[in-house]
Amino acid sequence: MYTDEQLVKKSLKGDVAAFEELVLRYQNKVYALAYRYMGNEEDAYDITQEIFLKAFRSLRTFKGNSSFGTWLYRVATNVCLDELRRRKRRVIPLSLDEPLATEDGDELEKDIIDPSPGADIIYERREFSEYIWTFLNQMKPEHKTIIVLRDMMDLSYEEIAQILNCSVGTVKSRLNRARNILRKKIEEKELLF
C-alpha cells in the first residue's frame, strides 16, 4: 500500500497505474464536490473528469506542502470555479430594463435563472436540501465555494484556508458573509420561515 505522495512520485516517473490508483482513491470525494457544485450527475461527472485531467497535468506543482487530498481539492475547486464563471458569462439577461438586484453592495446575480418555485412545489419536495441548493446556486462563485466546502463537504476552516490559499480569518469572514447572503436570499422569498 503506497502513500498518496509515493503514488504522485511514481506517476511523475511515468507510472500510469499509480495515477489511476490516485483517481480511484479520490473519485468519490471529488465527484461529491463536483456534484454539490453542479447539482446534477451529468455535469458532475464531466467536471470530475476535468478535475482529474487538470490534476494530472499539474501534478508537478504538487510540492507536498499540504496533503495530496487538500491539493486535489484545490485543483477541484479551481476547475469548478472556472466552470461557474464560464457559465455565468454565457448567460444573457432576459430583460435588460429589469434592474439588477444588488445584494450586499456587490452582487449582481439577476443573470442567473431564478428558480423561485411556488410554495406548493416546495411542499411537494421530499427534500428541502435541493431547494436550498437552488439558492446557493444563485450566489457568487466565491460565496458558493465557501459554503460548499464548509457546509456540504464538512471541511475544517484550516483545510479550506489551504484549499483557497488564504488565512483562517479570511475563511471565517467570507463564510459569515456568504451564509448571511444565502439566509437573506431565502428569507426574501418568505417561503421558508
Partner: protein, 340 residues
C-alpha cells in the same frame, strides 16, 4: 453588546470557531435576544439542509474515462516518433506504456513549413525562408545552393507500433508503417535524412516561472536552448518562445515534462528533409577527394592544400547536418494564461 456585533460571530460560533470570550458574549446575548437566536437557528437550518443533500455515488468507469480523455489529448501534445516505440523495453513495460503514451504522444501530421510558421507565429520566419530548423552558419550556405523547402505534406502517421509490452488497450492508433528513421552519418544512396522539429503552445500560469522551469529542464538534460523572442500577440498576453535542441533519446522524457507545465495546444510536427543537402555535400566531398588525389599525383602541393581546406569546410557542413539530424528541435511557445 449590540446585535450587529454579535451577528458577525454567529457563523463562527456555530462552527465552534469562536474563542472563549466570544463564546461567552454570544451565549449571554442569545439568552436575551430572540432576534439573534432566530437568525442563528435559520443559518443552522440552512447549513443542515445543504449538508443533507444526497449525493449519488461516483459512476463506475471514471478511471477508464479519465485515461481515455488523457489519451484523446493526442492532438494537443507533441508528437514524437521515438516515443512511439521506446527502445527501452522496461520503460514500455513499466506501466501501460508509460506516461508518454498516456498523454498521447502521437504523430499528428507532418505539416509543410508554411503551416508550421503560422502555428508557431515565428516572427523570424520570412516567406520562403526555412523556419528555424537551420541555424546561421555553414549550413545556411548549403541551403542557399541546393534550395530547401521541398517538404512534402504527408498523411497522418499513427505513432504506436504494436509492441507485445504495450498493454495500453485504449490506444487505438497503431500503424506499422512509420516513417523510415533518419540515419545520421550513413551515406547510402537511398538514405532518408531529416531534421525533426516539434512545436507546441503551452498555457502557463506564470510565464517567468515556467520559462525558468523550461530552462532548468533543458540544463538538467544537457539540451541546448535559446529564447527566441518574446513577441506580443494581438491579445496582449505575455509570451515566450524557447527552442530546445535535445538528444533524440532524451526527447520523450523532456516532452513528457514539458507537457506537465500547462495546457498544450497548437502542436505541430515537422520533418525537414535534408536528404538532398546531405547527398549534395557528400557528392562535393567525393569530388574534392578525387581532386586532392589528382593534385597529389601531380605533385601540386599548393592546389592540394587549398583543396584540403575546402574539404575541411565541407566536412564541417556535413557534421552540422548530422548534428541537426541527431537532435530534435522542440519549440515551446509559452503563453500566460491570464485569469479573468
Amino acid at each position: 453588546m449590540r446585535c450587529n456585533q454579535i451577528k458577525d460571530l454567529l457563523s463562527p460560533y456555530m462552527d465552534g470557531m469562536t474563542n472563549e470570550k466570544e463564546n461567552r458574549l454570544v451565549k449571554e446575548h442569545l439568552a436575551e435576544c430572540p432576534s439573534c437566536r432566530e437568525e442563528l437557528e435559520r443559518m443552522q437550518f440552512i447549513a443542515l439542509c445543504l449538508n443533507k443533500m444526497e449525493v449519488p455515488p461516483c459512476p463506475e468507469g471514471l478511471v477508464l474515462d479519465v485515461r481515455k480523455r488523457i489519451v484523446e489529448e493526442k492532438n494537443k501534445v507533441f508528437s514524437l516518433r521515438e516515443a512511439a516505440k521506446p527502445k527501452r523495453q522496461g520503460w514500455m513495460a513499466a506501466g501501460i506504456a508509460g506516461i508518454a503514451l498516456l498523454i498521447g504522444i502521437y504523430i499528428n501530421s507532418i505539416l509543410p513549413v508554411e503551416n508550421i510558421a503560422f502555428l508557431w507565429r515565428d516572427k523570424d520566419s520570412e516567406a520562403g525562408k526555412n523556419v528555424a530548423i537551420v541555424g546561421k552558419g555553414p549550413l545556411d550556405r548549403i541551403m542557399g545552393i541546393t534550395g530547401i523547402g521541398k517538404e512534402e505534406k504527408r498523411v497522418a502517421q499513427a505513432p504506436f507500433t504494436e509492441d507485445e509490452d504495450n498493454d495500453g488497450g485504449n490506444v487505438a492508433v497503431t500503424d506499422k508503417e512509420t516513417v523510415k528513421p533518419a540515419v545520421p552519418g550513413k551515406k547510402s544512396a537511398g538514405g532518408i535524412y531529416v531534421a525533426e522539429q516539434l512545436a507546441a503552445q503551452i498555457k502557463v500560469g506564470d510565464i517567468d516561472k515556467s520559462t525558468q522551469e523550461v530552462i532548468k529542464l533543458a540544463q538538467a538534460s544537457g539540451a541546448e536552448y535559446k529564447i527566441v523572442d518574446s513577441m506580443q500577440p494581438l491579445s496582449g498576453e505575455a509570451t515566450k518562445t524557447i527552442e530546445l535542441a535535445v538528444e533524440k533519446d532524451k526527447a520523450d522524457s523532456i516532452i513528457q515534462q514539458l507537457s506537465l507545465l500547462g495546457e498544450v495546444s497548437d502542436t505541430s510536427r515537422n520533418q525537414v528533409s535534408l536528404t538532398e543537402q546531405y547527398n549534395k555535400v557528400q557528392e562535393e566531398i567525393n569530388i574534392l577527394n578525387e581532386k586532392i588525389a589528382q593534385a597529389e599525383k601531380e605533385g601540386n602541393a599548393e592546389a592540394k592544400a587549398d583543396l584540403e581546406k575546402k574539404l575541411q569546410e565541407l566536412n564541417g557542413v556535413k557534421n552540422d547536418i548530422e548534428g541537426k539530424m541527431a537532435k530534435i528541435t522542440l519549440k515551446v511557445y509559452l503563453v500566460e494564461n491570464v485569469k479573468p
